[in-house]
Symmetry: C2
Subunit: 655 residues, 2 copies
């Protein structure tokens, strides 16, 4: 039996707001169920029965009630009190319509340390739960006093051997300890009562703090979630894929987009798991075959331990799971401006060696080209400074790419937002930027570019710009991890660089993504803390980086043509000269042209960049040359560039 | 010789902005000197000579150039290259007018691990520095590859035995490792070339990350800085007290108030060190004597290793250092509102059992009283919701307290801002809230209250409110640590509670301060991340907590008088009943009156609180009862109250 639906659930603790806000957001994002986090219920005016009704109205099942803490005790009186407490929670669950409660391993000093006694206490609780048609999902907290590995929790559950007692597996607790998830495949599927998924960055800190503040949705962190999920599904787990993510940013952000981000992460995870699963058969490259194999491989089994509450639905992945169609580069970048500023942008492109090759038939849009770099200037912007208006990538199969993006919850944008009349599908990135899918090599007649009337001028080699190296996107604070996952999943990119640098107005996190062939590169940045009033707009810049094989020649030609190249302080070159043995004439050329010379590590090549001055509140253009295989983004020198742009802005403000 | 001036310096890395912004802020705050952080200079358009001139214009000396990294090397070629690099930096220092450079212990894999060879390499560098009249201050990074304790760095410096080589001591690197600072007193003072001070909270994380993101100014964290500073001064250290604080918030905040906060921290540290130093003589309680003793104890000695660059000035503390005059409680709290809202506030105070005892002679201000709780309602607010307008404490010596506050850089507020005509001194807290010093017991005739015309009504026991328990202040994001230090130093309070709780709109940090007798308590809170658009104003509430010995009786009387008590969900009481064995009638009374019952730990007593509904955008009043010595602030239940206020606000918006 094949189902086309992946059951997904979300713990209410993932989201900001009150319980009512959270349920609406989870429903809007298409989740099938929720875990009710007890503090959310305790603070809610809705009685548990009202919550059940509300969830039903919203199409949500209540898949888990959590957490029940510190059940077991060496003190018989305390254990008895804990059982009474549990009965009250069973009352709540009965009203809620929840049949499974998460019991986490004790962190109390009186935690039972004899495994047989612990199993006995868990079985006692399970017996009481079972009588009421409920189940206990026992979870090992990574910082549990006695039980803190999934292997240990399974040992205790197996000892207890009670049909109403099973495991809750949480990827964070397991992967944060470096445990191998592969043996999970050996656990009987009917004893896997619940699965909580969370990713996280690698951090060297107290695991409790790491867990409580820095969890991420799958695909946003450093954990190998597909490798975790595979053995769980292989074991026969049949419950929902549920997210339990404690994250300081998500707890403070609008819950509606966060819930969409959350569900996208599960869809992408299921797809990645299916594809990875199919990969060993050699089918991963052939999308339909690979997907079918994956769908079959991931079809869950019905629980054999049924009869405990509602029947479990099988876990299946989207049967059309397929890799993103291959990319072949940036088709174009659109810059938007008011008419006067658009003229200035055109002048700058001209001074960088670009040629105006077309004018749109009906819109105030011009097409400029040099090498394979294509830039549209859209003079139809009303108000606001010049800015990055849209991204466009060349895709081997634009319709498939757009359908896939929609399946990954990317909003399809209405046609009128597109810069071209051709049938271009565009979806909205998390910050609202349109992202177009264009057919590979279709920038000529018949493709997206055919809506432009040729000017008669043709783009030649110009000043040596060969194409778009990457686009630099400063993301809104609440949407950084969301954006990284969006581009990763929707475009099929791979995260290649993550870093942090100290800029003049505070620390900045960076994350870059690219396709394997490095034809599409995106460099995302965000302030480590949301900015207040002090930082100027230029603290969060946007830019288009153009590739050249000889940045000195390109910059020199641009300078001669009047390009507004950004001046870099002499102090930078004094320091550079003290750090590296550079030929004096090269250093002099750098100093003259404002070249930043970045070396991330001795064998990692060199990155040379020359920026323009600001072309809007926070927009600039960049010339970059990658030497000896440099694969980063020059973040070490970004603070120097940013300080120069700050002066640039001050000069504009007073000039 | 007595000097009345403490030499203070600030590393530019402490502040946000470009080098120019930082120098101005440091000068405005009254610093005597700066450490120039190399990346700030490298990104600056000012040449080093321009920086020297600019600093001189601003009254700043350039006390240190930093850091020079990874000097030593097992590879002779690399060491030679590092010496060449150092010579270029000496060139920069000569232009800057800096005679001391910080060389930190190497973190490189090729760091020299033979101490004699390391000493030899340091001496080689020092010889070159000495020839140019410069000095090398060698610092052990806590994460240095080979040298990572101050003891080890001193051992190497002693081996090198070169007059131009000494130590830089950094309190973070020393205290973060748990090293004992006492033996520093045995190091010859002339070998202590520089002192960098930083505090930090206790965090269980990688020390490099801890250092780079979470340092604080002295008095804001958990380190015992007076105990660190004493042996340094005892050794004869004669340079400035300099701050090197890497902090994510400070790096993003307006540098002007941050620099003031920084300098205040040094003034308070010097005072605390002097007082602590004087304490064993029994003089700490007698301010003038104690201060004189302290000043003498801390008077630094002139460097015996002079001749290396500019002469060092002696370190002395403010000779009038004295403890804050004792407090005797909150004199009053002022609430401000527009006239209509002021009438509503008056109604609420009336319904809580307060009596209007006076009207101001000339201003639209009323005095309300119950027990020792005094509230002013100021109807002169123009625009904005009802809010906390001012705090006032009873001080044994208001003029001395105000002078002391000014010495600690608190701005004296113009008289017209005061609610009373009496000669009340007020200073501005970091968020701008006026803070008044009133004479203890002077609320009657002749004191601050004498500007009020008695209404003829007298305050009795009312409904059992005995006084102001505490004031809850939600601080602006950039000013939380600053506010904590401000109240701590200016009022002479002690931090007693620090915590964090998960509120509906994100995590909140809390910090409480009190005088030893618990007569003045302040509970400061702040969102862990700066809020965006999603969170409502009520996410950051202000409140006045009134003490009662029987919160049930007080709340019942208030309820009967029509007080708008905040409704707490039944779910809360179901949960409370499951957790604690409470008599059914007590639980029923809690449920009826909206009492929150908080237990932080089994032996810590009980906190009972009943809130009012919102009286403005984020203002409410609270009735609290402390049972069995409870000494916290009920943070565990704050999220429930906050969710209830959110509903309250929604109801007001739609009602």
């Amino acid at each position: 039996m094949r189902r086309d639906h992946l059951r997904t659930a979300l713990a209410t603790v993932c989201l900001s707001g009150t319980l009512e806000d959270k349920l609406v957001a989870a429903s809007d994002a298409g989740f099938d169920g929720v875990e009710i986090f007890e503090p959310d219920l305790v603070a809610a005016p809705m009685r548990p029965g009202d919550v059940r009704v509300r969830c039903a109205d919203l199409g949500l099942s209540v898949d888990l009630y959590q957490p029940f803490r510190d059940l077991d005790s060496n003190d018989p009186d305390r254990f008895a009190a804990n059982l009474r407490r549990a009965e009250r929670k069973f009352d709540v669950m009965a009203e809620l319509g929840a049949d499974t409660v998460l019991v986490c391993s004790s962190v109390s000093p009186d935690a039972v340390t004899d495994d047989d006694r612990l199993a006995e206490q868990l079985a006692t609780l399970a017996e009481r739960a079972g009588r009421r048609g409920m189940r206990i999902a026992y979870e090992a907290l990574a910082w549990g006093a006695h039980v803190n590995t999934y292997e240990h929790s399974w040992d205790v559950v197996a000892r207890a051997d009670h049909p109403a007692l099973g495991l809750c597996l949480d990827s964070f607790h397991i992967l944060s300890r470096g445990s191998d998830p592969a043996p999970i495949a050996e656990i009987p599927g009917e004893k896997l009562f619940f699965l909580q998924l969370a990713d996280a960055p690698h951090l060297s800190m107290d695991v409790l703090q790491w867990s409580r503040h820095h969890r991420l949705f799958p695909g946003q962190g450093a954990f190998d979630l597909p490798a975790f999920l595979r053995p769980v599904l292989a074991a026969g787990y049949a419950g929902p894929l549920s997210l339990e993510v404690f994250n300081d940013v998500f707890r403070q952000a609008d819950p509606v987009p966060t819930a969409v981000d959350a569900r996208r992460s599960l869809l992408a995870l299921a797809e990645a798991t299916a594809l990875a699963d199919a990969a060993p058969t050699g089918a991963a490259d052939a999308a339909p075959t690979g997907a079918a194999g994956a769908g079959a491989a991931l079809a869950g089994v019905a629980p054999t331990g049924a009869g405990l509450g509602a029947a479990r639905r099988a876990v299946v992945v989207d049967p059309v799971a397929a890799p993103a169609p291959p990319l072949a580069g940036h088709a174009f970048v659109e810059l938007t401006a008011e008419p006067t500023e658009a003229d200035q942008l055109a002048e700058v492109l001209d001074s960088l060696g670009f040629v105006r090759t077309g004018r749109h038939r009906t819109k105030p849009v011009e097409r400029w080209e040099q090498g394979r770099a294509r830039v549209l200037i859209n003079a139809g912007s009303r108000g606001g400074a010049a800015a990055l208006g849209a991204l466009a990538v060349e895709s081997a199969d634009p319709p498939a790419a757009a359908r896939r993006a929609q399946r990954l919850l990317a909003p399809l944008l209405p046609r009128e937002r597109g810069p071209a009349e051709a049938d271009l599908a565009a979806v909205g990135a998390p910050d609202g930027t349109p992202l177009f899918f264009c057919r590979t090599g279709a920038s000529g007649p018949g493709g997206w570019s055919s809506d432009f009337v040729p000017t008669g001028e043709t783009a030649g080699d110009g000043f040596g710009i060969t194409g778009i190296d990457h686009v630099g996107l400063s993301e809104p604070f609440d949407h950084f991890d969301e954006a990284a996952l969006f581009y990763r999943s929707v475009l099929g990119l791979t995260p290649v660089s993550a870093g942090e640098f100290a800029a003049p107005f505070g620390l900045i996190r960076g994350r870059a993504l690219t396709d394997d062939a490095r034809t599409v590169r995106l460099a995302l940045t965000v302030a480590r803390l949301r900015r207040g009033d002090w930082a100027p707009a230029v603290a969060d810049p946007q830019y288009v980086a153009f590739a050249t094989d000889d940045v000195l020649a390109t910059a020199r030609a641009a300078r001669a043509a009047g390009a507004p190249l950004l001046a870099i302080p002499d102090n930078y070159y004094d320091d550079l000269g003290s750090r590296l043995e550079l030929p004096p004439d090269r250093l002099a050329a750098y100093r003259e042209l404002g070249v930043l010379h970045t070396v991330d590590h001795p064998d990692g090549g060199v990155y040379l960049q020359v920026g323009t001055e600001l072309l809007g509140g926070r927009l600039f253009l960049l010339l970059v040359q990658r030497v000896d295989g440099y694969d980063g983004y020059g973040w070490a020198d970004a603070p120097v560039r940013m300080a120069a742009h700050r002066r640039n802005r001050l000069a504009r403000a007073t000039g």
